[in-house]
């Protein structure tokens, strides 16, 4: 079986700064992987490059056997359509309500493109689809609320509904709960993983919480200084080993003591 994501020797440099230094990994279809690492280790750059938002200096990425790293224009958009992206900052359009934001998830999917996802012109079937997605994240009763009228957790639920609307096969979630309080974060993460498992999607998710990673993931990737240090099935990982990812760094945001305690 061809892997859902195949990344080989990824390098990204900004001038003299090497952010990714030869990252390689494969993910089988349906696998749920958590990527751990301290701030500044290159996690976000890796996630962004998997969607083509970040240009690779060298290396190749295949998504379901399609080469992303060299794709341009229409071909690149085609690959992105099959890939949902959940952002730390939700990235909803502030002036549109939850329903309209979810509709935008259909953006790349239709031959009608643009017209299929603007609330004025979307076909009834897409509108029903969008409402259904909102129902699945428990936000149907907030369909007409703008992001500013929703809590952080609710906004991320809407963003997840938008991702669902896209009907992706692969999901990339870049610190989906880092902006949320522990309780809301827990609920949102629960929802995200449940949906991913129900739909049989492949997900790569970055988290800062070791215990949550161990609870949800099939496998853990650990990054340090732009390289993969740990790549292990969840049963084989040890907390000490994971904590080592966060030592020797200048910033203390990741609180290594949290898990040891």
């Amino acid at each position: 079986m061809t892997p859902a994501i195949a990344a080989k020797d990824l390098c990204v440099s900004y001038g003299k700064l090497d952010v990714l230094r030869g990252v390689s990994f494969d993910m089988a279809e349906g696998q749920g992987v958590v990527l751990l690492g301290a701030n500044g280790c290159g996690k976000s750059t890796l996630m962004r490059s998997l969607n083509g938002l970040e240009k690779l200096t060298s290396g190749t990425i295949h998504i379901h056997d399609e080469q992303l790293s060299t794709a341009r224009g229409r071909q690149l958009r085609q690959i992105r359509r099959g890939m949902g992206y959940v952002f730390q900052q939700f990235n909803l359009v502030p002036q549109l309500n939850a329903f309209q934001n979810v509709l935008l998830g259909a953006m790349g999917r239709h031959s009608m493109g643009l017209l299929s996802c603007l609330s004025l012109t979307a076909p009834a079937q897409e509108r029903e689809g969008a409402l259904h997605c909102l129902e699945r994240v428990g936000m149907a009763d907030r369909a007409l609320h703008r992001p500013s009228e929703l809590s952080g957790g609710q906004q991320q639920r809407v963003a997840i509904a938008r991702m669902l609307m896209q009907a992706p096969r692969v999901v990339v979630a870049d610190e989906p709960i880092a902006s949320l309080d522990p309780k809301a974060g827990r609920e949102v993460l629960d929802l995200l993983w449940r949906i991913v498992r129900e739909e049989g999607l492949t997900m790569l998710c970055t988290l800062h919480h070791l215990e949550l990673a161990q609870e949800y993931a099939d496998r853990i990737l650990g990054m340090k200084a732009g390289q993969i240090e740990i790549d292990a099935a969840i049963a084989d990982t040890q907390t000490d080993q994971l904590n080592a990812l966060y030592t020797g760094m200048t910033r203390v945001d990741a609180k290594p003591t949290e898990v040891a305690a």
Binding site: Q78, V93, L104, G108, R109
Partner: protein
């Protein structure tokens, strides 16, 4: 008092360039005062003329009100039609000129050039150009307002587009949306309120310009005003000026209240 050399100086000597600019400005100013022949005597005479003008202008003569109303209506037509087309043309032009929506650098430079030409040439000069090309009358006025509006609105639209948050646009790019989808899905909705405010400012500006455009023959109430002044019918001129005042203030009030509602 002790002689403390550590105190900061009261005055920092300006650089050589500042001196050159300063002296240049002073010379130009003095030359201007002399050249325009300003004297107390002339100002005093001017004041007495002003009193005579006001004396003849009061009471205003509203006997030609039907003509004035017609001309005012024409002015408003010029302003509204001109500003509507101006704003419509401004949107695509602004999208081509904004850093985050322009297809490439060449197009962007070109679009910015068009916008700055439209802005740099004053509305009265646009009106003169169009009077020559399409003849006297409101069409010349409308075209002048369109150019003036583009110079103003397209610039502010494009600045607004460049200010939109990166996140939502990026999210739509990540779903596989093309450039146009991102523009319609995120950038235009995010800019809508500010664009409406800019458009309303354009309307206010257009009404004020349209009033003066008649002075060069581009239609509207300006024609009436310049005729009345040339015939020394200051009472009729006063009536026209009062009508202009009422309409312009009414428009500004209306647009302010709409703007408050949106933002």
């Amino acid at each position: 008092m002790s002689d403390n050399t550590n105190l900061p100086p009261r005055f920092r000597a300006p650089s050589a360039l500042s001196w050159v600019v300063l002296v240049g400005f002073a010379a130009f100013f003095i030359q201007g005062m002399i050249a325009s022949d300003i004297s107390v005597d002339r100002l005093v005479r001017g004041a007495s003329n002003l009193v005579r003008f006001v004396g003849q202008a009061v009471p205003p003569d509203f006997s030609r009100m039907p003509n004035i109303a017609d001309a005012m209506l024409e002015t408003m037509n010029i302003a509204v039609v001109g500003v509507t087309f101006g704003c419509l043309f401004s949107v695509p032009l602004a999208l081509l000129a904004a850093r985050n929506t322009a297809p490439n650098g060449v197009v962007r430079t070109l679009a910015r050039f068009v916008i700055s030409v439209a802005r740099t040439i004053p509305d009265l000069i646009w009106a003169l150009i169009f009077v020559v090309t399409v003849g006297l009358g409101p069409l010349a006025g409308i075209l002048a307002i369109i150019m003036d509006t583009i110079g103003f609105a397209a610039r502010f639209y494009s600045e607004r587009f460049e200010e939109v948050q990166k996140g939502p646009s990026e999210a739509l790019t990540a779903t596989g949306g093309g450039r146009l989808s991102v523009i319609f899905g995120a950038i235009l909705p995010e800019s809508f309120a500010s664009m409406t405010a800019t458009s309303l400012f354009s309307v206010e500006k257009a009404i004020r310009s349209a009033v003066t455009l008649g002075l060069v023959g581009a239609g509207g109430i300006g024609v009436e005003l310049s005729t009345a002044m040339r015939l020394f019918r200051y009472d009729q001129a006063a009536a026209i000026i009062l009508v202009i005042l009422v309409v312009v203030v009414a428009f500004e009030q209306l647009s302010t209240s709409i703007r408050k509602r949106i933002i």
